[in-house]
Every structure is written in C-alpha cells, then in structure tokens.
C-alpha cells in the first residue's frame, strides 16, 4: 500500500515539475511582483512625503528665524520668539544618558543570554521577558518613572550633589523631574532593542571561533572579551544606533519626566526639555501659522538629528568593516607563506 502511494506521489510531483507554468500562475506571479514593488516604493515615498510636508510648513519659520532658531534659548509664543537650543541640548543629553546605561546593561544581558551561563529554557524565558518591556506603553513608563524611579533615586542623587557638588555634572540637586530619571526610564525603554539586536549578533558568531579560543587555553572571560564581542561588534553598534534613534524621538514618557523647562545646565540632575516633549506640549494649542511654522521647524530639526545619527552609525559600521577587510588583507600573505 505505502509503496504504491509513494510512487503515485512521485509521479504526480514529476508531472507538476515538468509542466510549464500556466498563464494564471504567470499572472499571479507578475501581480505579486508588481504589488511588492509598489508597496516598497510606497513606503519610501511616504518617508519622503513626511519630510517634504514638514519642510514645506516649516519654510516660513525658516525664512523668518533662520539659524538663530537653533542657537537662541527663548521660546515665547506670545512675543513670537522661538529658539530651541535648550531642547536640542536636552534631547542629546537625555538620550546620551539613556543609551549609555542601556548599552552597558543591554550588552551584558545579551552576553549572559548567549554564553551558556544558564539552561537554554531559562535563556529563552529571560529573553521573552525583556522583549515584553517593549510592549509597555510610553505613558505607563512615564507614570512608573514619576512614582517609582524618582523617589527611589532621589536620596542617592542628592547625596552625590551634597558631596560631589563641585563637579559641574552634579551641580544641582534632584528636586523631582530631571535628566537623570528621564535617562534611566529611556534606558529601560530601549533595553529590549539593544538586547535583542546584540543578542542576535553575538549568537551569530561562528561557534568554531569560540571553540578555537577555548582550545588555545583562553578562559571564558578572555573568550567573551577577546573573541565573541569583537566579532559581533557590528551588530552591537547597530543595536546602539537603533536604540539611540528610539531615544531621540521618545515623547510621552519624557514629557512627563523631563520637567519641560527652558534651561541649559551641565548638571545631570537638572530639569530640562526635549524637542519631542516641546512638540507634544505646544502642538495641541498652537493657534497661529507662525506658531505652527516654528513647531514644524523644530520637528524638522529633530528629524535631521535622527537622520544624522543614523548616517553616523552607518559610517562607523562601514569603517569598521573596511578596517576588518584591510586587516584580513594584511594578515593573509604571511599565512600563505607558512603554508607554502
């Protein structure tokens, strides 16, 4: 019975493969190809359209305020004075704090989850738990920051201000909202991104390389730092850039935690403002075209900032790759000689 069945299946399959595609299949194939082309083009078009529309609405403000917009510090809609330097500074500082913390923890977690420190099922469980962090809404992070993070870190921050206040970055006390709580919450928000991407990069390192390192007598510590991490550098950089991109644009949680105040202070405990929070706060009641134009200008600056970060990240990655290739090229000849 079963032998007969299998021969029948083989015959049918052989016929199916030999048959030329029907016109219907060709039509479906063509339609599918065009559909993907159109949709792919559409998403690129969408990005271009967003940039163009924002730029178009920002043009009156760009003409009126010029580059002063980026260098002046006052935002007073009543007097039509607009400057976003404090917001630009706050965006960069809060993101830098967030990315620095998230990189340390994210890469450490990624190593922990890939280097057989714990059983496989526990690795998967922990990975899923961390991925779940990405599903928590921004507002919830904001509330959590207000009611949990701030009371928890305030004593430590104020102790640092009291004893190390002569260092400018600890120059003010942490009253409640400020850069540090904002940065900490940002770090937790981008932790899943950094962990997931760098975990994949580390897991993709050829196991032969690790085994070779162990074989040469390297400890686990030496293997991780000397072989695994350098080999997965590119993916880790990529995860940091992705995280930074998310941190720069994060709005709701930061609007709740940053303090929305127009100051530039070197202190990491001082309140400040970010571009995204400024947009969220001022957009709903922007009444005049001048106000709207100024906000669109600010949005454009934020867009350019994220774009620059991504380009910079890409350049770093490329340089890294070309350098690796060059090193390979340098190392190859002696290897060949010994073989010869």
């Amino acid at each position: 019975m079963s032998a007969m069945d299998s021969t029948r299946v083989e015959r049918v399959e052989a016929e199916g493969i030999a048959r030329p595609p029907t016109s219907r299949e060709i039509a479906v194939d063509r339609c599918f190809r065009w559909a993907t082309r159109i949709l792919a083009g559409f998403s690129a078009l969408l990005v271009a359209l967003i940039v163009l529309l924002i730029a178009k609405q920002a043009i009156p403000a760009i003409r009126k305020f010029g580059f002063d917009f980026v260098t002046s510090t006052r935002w007073d809609a009543g007097k039509s004075q607009f400057g976003i330097l404090p917001e630009l500074f706050g965006t960069i500082l809060s993101s830098a704090i967030g990315v620095a913390l998230a990189t340390v923890f994210g890469v450490a977690v990624a190593v922990f989850l890939t280097q057989q420190f714990i059983p496989r099922w526990l690795e998967n469980l922990l990975h899923n738990v961390i991925t779940l962090l990405a599903a928590i809404p921004s507002v919830v992070y904001g509330l959590w920051g207000i009611f949990v993070v701030i009371p928890a870190i305030r004593p430590a921050c104020n102790w640092m201000h009291a004893h190390l206040g002569w260092i400018p970055i600890f120059g003010t006390p942490l009253v409640s909202v400020g850069m540090t709580p904002a940065g900490i919450v940002l770090a937790i928000m981008i932790l899943p991104t950094i962990t997931a991407v760098s975990r994949d990069a580390i897991a993709a390192v050829d196991p032969l390389m690790r085994e070779a390192a162990f074989g040469m007598g390297a400890t686990r510590w030496e293997t991780i730092l000397g072989v695994t991490l350098p080999a997965s550098k590119r993916g880790i950089y990529g995860s940091i850039v992705l995280g930074l991109g998310r941190a720069l644009g994060e709005t709701m949680a930061l609007a709740m935690l940053i303090g929305s105040t127009n100051v530039i202070s070197p202190s990491v405990f001082s309140p400040g403002d970010t571009l995204a929070a400024l947009l969220a706060n001022k957009f709903p009641e922007a009444a005049t075209p001048v106000d709207l134009g100024a906000l669109m200008y600010a949005a454009l600056v934020l867009l350019i900032l994220t774009l620059l970060v991504n380009v910079a990240g890409e350049l770093v990655l490329r340089r890294d790759v070309t350098r690796l290739r060059r090193e390979e090229a340098v190392h190859k000849p002696p290897k060949n000689e010994t073989v010869a």
Binding site: F42, L46, L49, R74, W75, D76, A77, G78, K79, I146, F147, I150, P151, P173, V175, S176, V177, A255, M256, G259, S260, T261, N262, V263, P271, A277, A280, N281, K282, P284, E285, A286, A287
Partner: protein, 352 residues
Amino acid sequence: MRRARPTLLIVLALGVSLLISSCNRPSQEITLQGSGATFPAPLYRRWFIEYYAAHPDVRVNYSPIGSGAGIRQFTAGLTTFGASDAGMSQKEIDKLPKEYGGVRLLPMTAGEIALSYNVPLAAPIHLSRSTYVKIFLRAITDWNDPEIAKDNPGVELPTQKITVVTRADSSGTTFAFTTHMAAVAKAMHLEWPPGVDKSVPWRESIAAQGNDGVAALIQLTPGAIGYVEYGYARLAHLRMAALENASHEFILPDETGEGGQRALEGAEIPADLQIRISDPTNSGAYPIVTYTWLLCRKHYDDQREERTIEAILLDCLTDPKQEVARQLGYVKLPPNVVDRLRAELTQTVATR
C-alpha cells in the same frame, strides 16, 4: 498619502453611515458635539449626562482637548459648540465664518485657582500679595524667607528651596493666573516680565501637562508650589495656601466656594459677556477666580440644533445644576449673571 486618502474616506464614511443607521432607530434623536477647555470638562460631562437621563433623545458629547484647539474646531465647523477658559480674542472672533451670524460667549461656570504647595505644615500657609508674586518671579527662593515668615508669625518654616511648578501646555488656567498676577504686580509696583498669555516663559520652573499633571508634580516634589484649579487640587489632597486679597484678608479656597462667589459678585458685565475678574476688591473674595466660556453660534442652519442647545444651556443655569457645579469644586454663578444669560438665551428664542 494622496492615493490612500479617498479609500480611507470611503471606509470612514461607510463606518459612520453604518453607525448612524444602527443608532438612529428613534428618529428624532439628536447628537451635539462640543470640544474645548479641560478645566470645566468634568462639570460639562456631568451636566450633559444628567440632561440625557431626563431627555433620552438628546446626546451631547464633549471632548476636553484644550481651549485653543476647541476654538479652532468650532471655527472650522467641526463642532456644534466650543469651550474656552480664556474667552475669545477679537482676532479669533474675526476668523469665524459669516454664516454663524456671530458668536455667543456664555460664561457657564467659574472656578478658583489654588496655589498648592508641598511643605509639611500643620495649618495652611498665608501668602501676602507681594509674597506670592515674588515667589513666581523667583525673587523669593526659600521657604524660610523673612517675607514668608512675616506673613506666618509663629510658624516654624523649613529651610528648603522653593520649586515653582507651572503648566507645560498652553492653557486657560495659565491665562487666568497670569492675568491676576500681572494685575497684582501692577498694584504693588512690581515688574511682571512673564506677561499675560495661555503659555508664558517662566523663570526657573518645572512644568507638567494639564491640571492633573501639575497636581501630581507638586505632590512628587518636596518644596514645590504651583497653580492648579481648585477641583483638581482637592482631588489630589494637596495643601492650599490662604491668599491675601485686595482688601488685605487672607482667604482659603474651600468646599463652600464662598470666597469665589464673593469674588464674582458685583463684577461689571460687558456686552460680549467676557467678564474679567483680574483682581477682585470685594471683602471676603478669593483673589484668583476665572469664568469659563461656552461658545455657540448666533445662528444655526438646523433650527432643531439651535433650540436644543438653548434648552440644554437654560437647564444648566437652573439652581440644582448650579449646585452640582459647587459640589464638583466650581463656583456658583451669581444671580445677576444667571439672569443675564437667561435673557441672552431666551431673547433669541423670542425673536425667531
């Protein structure tokens, strides 16, 4: 984008028509849509729900999206009525479409703005006129400043920095508060650099979105002081300061709303009903009080819509509905304003 819009519209239209056809069984049902100020939202919703309970064929939706956005949607014809804590400026009125036949600004309720603080004191702190202006100007930066101590004899004031909490978004509350502060500063011969607006550049403050956001931030920040609508401050159980009024009495905002009512009494009612009480002089008046306005067209194309909205608003002016306002932390309208509003609403019914 351009490609997607028509299909999106068709889907939306289909959805809406389905909704309408499914809801429309009692044929004379009418739905009014309003949007605007957040401050009176709890009261408006309560009023409209009570009206719906008594008149099941009239539904009123109100979305609290802020005064400025409310005026914009009303101007664009998206809503039946708007609401604004700051009234409407002449510029905004000029932008209204001609077929509205003009706008009716109706001060439906009023509220007190409390100065809430986060300092553990047994009794409410007393702040004199010059003191609270100087606090918001950052001329006074410590809770144990001699000027605050002078207002509070015998009270042990903590050695703590003052943190000023303000609104991050543009709001009618800020407009009313800065109107009052500018008036007091002028009377005290002080400069008031922030100016008067729905959003002003404060010196050294931390800011949050919405009355509830400011209330939460005050609660969170030791040594904070900020301005919040009384209802929200009460809801968050915040400490509130007794403020010195123009007749040099220290008045606390409270449940009875008496200080607020005193402040509204005897105020001059201008022809456009934009009653401004920047610095009430009555004895017993709480100093920071503001009306909030509902915006209606003078002429609606749909006669039924016009009659319905007038009926609803007349109902809101009745005594039980005004008592509801008081319970929710708003101030009851004084009788002369109620009479004036009633006349305004019935007069147009008569002329038709």
